[in-house]
Amino acid sequence: MRTAPTTRLGLRLLALGYLVLLLALPIALILVRTFSPGVEAFLASVRTPAALSALNLSLLIVALVVPLNVGFGVATALALVRGRFRGRGLLQAVVDLPFAVSPVVVGVSLILLWGAGGWFGGVESLGFRVIFGVPGMVLATVFVTLPFVVREVEPVLHEIGTEQEEAAATLGAGAWQTFWRITLPAIRWGLTYGVVLTIARSLGEFGAVIMVSSGFPGVSQTLTLLVHARYIDDHNTYGAYAVATLLMGLAVLTLLLMTLLDRKRSTR
């Protein structure tokens, strides 16, 4: 398609103008507002006790969610690719389900299952508090991040086939040995990519987590909840900007890692 230079320029300006108004300008404004009182003010704002404990809780959730997703995610991918059993189509559908569910609906579902009066509400009387505690936030985060590892590992498993694994088995390797020596090294970049996506989403999840959290600073307030609380409850707009900037920094880091891993995967 040959477009006249003026049309081409017009389209370019339209596209870039949209992106500037929607993305670039608001983000630049946040950065300016965060750093205009100086880097010290920013550091002080993200180093308050509430902010530090929010960071700790966010990292704790990541530390609990990632191993769960890696273990069960790889197992699920193996079952989907290598398994021959009835109900495999159903399993596929269940894995994709979290993408279609609103975060708030995730939170409500967990409250109705684990909360007081829910089917599993009994665990609360045993002294194991799920809703309004860390277990609930972990369950919410696992729900929304469930597809990532499975969907990144699955195509790699398809691609590598079973020849090497069979050869290893013929040579006398046990199931675990085959997995550690053959399967895991083959899927490592796909798995890493899935883990990066999981970490990014875990740090950034808001809707599902706020539903099942009591929101008390220091106890069950993650970084995203802190942004919300500072803006809405404390009217501490600057504090909200500062934590948002911190989260943005983490997001940009994720993007860089993903680009790097993409290259690794394609040159493998």
Binding site: M1, A4, L11, R12, A15, L19, L22, L23, P26, I27, L29, I30, F72, T76, L78, R82, G83, F85, G87, L91, V94, V95, L97, A100, V101, S102, P103, V104, V105, V108, S109, I111, L112, L113, G118, L139, F143, E163, E166, A169, G172, A175, A200, L203, G204, E205, F206, G207, M211, V227, H228, Y231, A240, Y241, A244, L247, A251, V252, L255, M258
Partner: protein, 296 residues
């Protein structure tokens, strides 16, 4: 397990598989058989995990929504504020999907067919909304379009404000689905049309758009499905005014807060229904497109 894969392996090569030899005694005991016993166990564990994490919560949700029977569910969904929230949600999401269809295609076209300095930076910027936490999106947009706006643009607690927030978080869907198709598109058909005297608008409409249609529809549909469930990005900028800017996810959250789980569950089920219907429709359309391509 190992027996099964060996059989399929032979079948794949198109060679009639000879009957498999029985495991020879010199083969270490427990390898093949150990795997065979592990596999059903593994599938069981995976099934149990997915049930506890995903299926049981959704089952509890559905059971709560149906607590007063189907009529109870229906009256909870059709209660004036619930219905208004669902209307606002679907209306705004449809508007945002449309904006995405137009602007997303335009951005993809500019990124593929145009050359300018800094194009790679712009290309990298597109993914940012997926990487940014939704609450950060809210804060970011409020800084420009909220109470402290330097350009005195007040979109706080208005429907345009909702649209801006949703357009922000759904930006990558259409761009990223249309872009690869544009890269792969064969330019010679467009050039042939041009040499036959077609104008660029005609070429776009008659040649480019039909090629892009499947990717465009899928990207737009995914943006819509994402937009109807959004919460984090609209929670600060939306205003939560019942009947005007309150979206379904905010209504659900509010009903939980005032301890009306049935209302919350009912609207959740309605929201899920809309999302599933959208994704089902997309899968249907994709299947039809593939069949047409195969028969062509």
């Amino acid at each position: 397990m190992s027996t099964a894969t060996a059989t399929t392996g032979a079948g794949r090569d198109g060679v009639a598989a000879p009957p498999l030899p029985a495991p020879t005694p010199d083969r270490p005991v427990g390898t093949g058989r150990g795997r065979a016993r592990l596999a059903p166990l593994g599938i069981g564990v995976v099934g149990l995990w997915l049930s506890v994490v995903v299926l049981l919560p959704l089952a509890a949700l559905t059971a709560t929504a149906l607590g007063d029977g189907v009529t109870g569910l229906w009256s909870a969904v059709t209660a004036p504020t619930a219905l208004a929230a669902l209307r606002v949600t679907v209306g705004v999401a449809a508007g945002v999907a449309l904006v995405n269809a137009v602007m997303g295609t335009l951005i993809a076209w500019v990124l593929v067919r145009d050359e300018f300095r800094g194009k790679r930076v712009v290309d990298a910027l597109i993914d940012l909304p997926f990487a940014l936490p939704t609450i950060v999106a809210s804060i970011v947009l409020l800084s420009l379009y909220g109470p402290n706006s330097p350009v005195h643009l007040q979109l706080n607690a208005t429907r345009p404000g909702l649209m801006v927030a949703l357009a922000f978080v759904t930006l990558p869907f259409v761009v990223r689905s249309v872009q690869p198709v544009l890269i792969e598109a064969e330019r010679d058909v467009e050039e042939a049309a041009a040499s036959l005297g077609a104008g660029s608008w005609t070429i776009f409409r008659r040649v480019v758009l039909p090629t892009l249609a499947p990717a465009l529809i899928s990207g737009t549909g995914l943006a819509f499905a994402r937009a109807i469930g959004e919460y984090g990005s609209v929670v600060l900028i939306g205003g939560n005014i019942p009947g005007r800017t309150q979206v379904a996810s905010q209504y659900i959250q509010q009903q939980i807060e005032v301890d009306r789980p049935l209302n919350a569950a009912a609207v959740s089920v309605a929201l899920l229904g809309i999302a599933f219907a959208t994704l089902f429709l997309l899968r249907l359309l994709a299947g039809r497109g593939r069949r047409r391509e195969a028969s062509a």
